[in-house]
């Protein structure tokens, strides 16, 4: 499988650089497993780190029942956040740097202690969290027309694009994350609303899931890392000229422009 991993990783890498989406890996190789898909993801991350990029955190995807049903899966997936993906609050995403972007509003966790699975619980996550902030994630797919199955998005770094942190950092002790409300507006109009419970019942559960899943690869969540815990509402398509703002109860707002 080694050469194949490298082959698919290279395909995705070319797609990212050229801005031209590729056919799903699963249409070329229906047998590909989730574990192999993560190896493809890691191959590209290693290459980027070799080129001087830094891993600054992780993102969790497929945390809503709706998304899991859409892809026919019963667990989330994850990807890596690199320093090259950061956009300042209120900043711009250059449209030529993305293929088919969509925007999601999420809660970001910043850790003050390492979290290493297995057996990480919600309480461990609360203890290890320095603060939370509102985030916008710009998801993007290097697979043509978002025709993804689970292995496709996993191999493609969980369809990560860019992310924006905003608002005011808040301690978890002050907020009931299960019921935190969010409204996402596009060009001033409400696109959708969401609640913390949309992400596996509570965003804290998502971070615990990730710490435990990463234990399978002998990877931990590290002190200082940013964890995007999963979308609170459906992803909204973005085009050049669009502006997005997500306002959250208790923790402020975050904006991005295209």
């Amino acid at each position: 499988m080694g050469p194949k991993i490298k082959h698919y990783a290279a395909q995705l890498s070319v797609a990212e650089l050229s801005g031209i989406g590729v056919l799903p890996i699963t249409s070329d190789n229906a047998e590909i497993t989730i574990e192999e898909a993560y190896q493809i993801q890691l191959e590209n991350i290693k290459r980027k780190v070799g080129n001087g990029q830094k891993i600054v955190g992780k993102k969790i995807g497929l945390t809503s029942l709706a998304m899991q049903r859409l892809l026919g899966v019963d667990e989330p997936d994850y990807g890596h956040l690199l320093d090259s993906m950061v956009v300042e609050n209120g900043g711009k995403v250059l449209i030529e740097k993305v293929l088919q972007p969509k925007v999601e509003a999420e809660i970001a966790f910043v850790l003050k202690e390492e979290l290493r699975g297995p057996n990480v619980t919600g309480i461990d996550v609360i203890k290890a969290t320095d603060y939370i902030v509102p985030a916008l994630e710009i998801v993007d797919s290097r697979i043509k027309d978002w025709k993804i199955k689970l292995p496709d998005t996993v191999a493609d770094n969980a369809s990560s694009g860019f992310y924006v942190l905003g608002g005011k950092p808040a301690r978890l002790s002050e907020i009931d994350l299960e019921l935190i409300g969010m409204v996402l507006t596009k060009n001033g109009e409400v696109s959708n609303t969401g609640v913390g419970a949309a992400a596996l019942g509570n965003p804290i559960n998502c971070v615990a899931w990730l710490a435990n899943r990463l234990a399978d690869f002998d990877i931990s969540l590290k002190k200082g890392e940013v964890i995007l815990s999963g979308a609170l509402s459906a992803a909204v398509e973005a085009q050049a000229g669009d502006s997005f703002t997500a306002r959250f109860a208790h923790i402020g707002h975050v904006s991005v422009h295209f």
């Binding site: 409300g181 969010m182 609303t193 609640v195």
Partner: protein, 262 residues
């Protein structure tokens, strides 16, 4: 159309409610050209029948307040109906299913109005200034029409599908909360069925009452002091079956529950 005909349609709908059976929508056979204005004239007769029976109005309720529902019904204004005293269920109480046809539940924020609000020109800010308290609620809607199949004038005539209401007991002053950012979850037997934030209601629940005051003003009516008003659903509507334990949880406003009995 003479008032007598609106009254006949109102009686048709009241009979369906009392007899607990679904009926064919008004626009199917009885009056295919029923307009929105006429729908409200039927509703007025329906309200009159209930008042004549000694029922008391608790307050108006708003419907079709979400973008999704407005698009589905192709309208740009919400609708209203009225909640009566006999529709109230205590928080933590039980809903006897045999009293209803095919009920569904939604999570909402209710306003207790402290001063009369007279349109036109009312905004959400006016409403907040004249609101005594906000409180959480679960609304049980139960269209009298087959399979919830109706046009806009039909649902207006049917008192906006109003059926039962459970008000929570946690009252808050509106200035203590950011009502558009309040998150709510609707669970049945511990499983989250749907969720949403206050902004799902016309951008802010207070906007819903502002629109109500402005709509009532066209008929020389107003929002009244003491009204308890349901502002519209934060979540989708979930079907109910016997044995269901229903819980609405609201950020900063606590929980509202009821159980579905036979």
């Amino acid at each position: 159309m003479p008032n007598q005909e609106y009254k006949k349609i109102a009686e048709y709908l009241v009979d369906a409610e009392v007899g607990k059976r679904e009926v064919i929508k008004v626009t199917a056979e009885i009056k295919p050209d029923l307009t929105v204005e006429e729908g409200y004239l039927v509703q007025k007769e329906l309200v009159g029948i209930k008042l004549a029976e000694g029922r008391r109005i608790v307050g108006p309720k708003m419907g079709l307040t979400s973008q999704a529902k407005m698009k589905q019904m192709k309208v740009d204004e919400p609708i209203y109906g009225y909640v009566f005293d006999y529709m109230l269920i205590e928080d933590g109480g039980s809903l006897p299913l045999h009293e209803l046809i095919h009920p569904k539940v939604e999570a909402e924020i209710a306003f207790l109005i402290g001063e009369d609000i007279t349109g036109p020109g009312v905004t959400g800010a006016h409403v907040l200034a004249k609101t005594e308290y906000v409180l959480p609620a679960l609304e049980i809607i139960d269209s009298r029409y087959e399979n919830f199949n109706f046009t806009l004038p039909d649902v207006i005539a049917d008192n906006a599908s109003t059926s039962r209401v459970v008000f929570g007991t946690s009252l808050k002053k509106p200035e203590q909360l950011e009502l558009d950012l309040i998150g709510a979850t609707l669970s049945i037997n511990g499983e989250i069925k749907d969720l949403g934030a206050g902004a799902a209601v016309l951008g802010h629940p207070a906007n819903s009452i502002a629109m109500l005051a402005n709509m009532l003003a066209r008929k020389g009516e107003k929002v009244r002091k003491g009204d308890v008003i349901l502002t519209g659903a934060l979540t989708g509507a979930s079907m109910l079956t016997v044995g269901d334990f229903v819980s609405g949880k609201f950020d900063g406003l606590g929980e509202v529950t009821f159980t579905v009995k036979e």
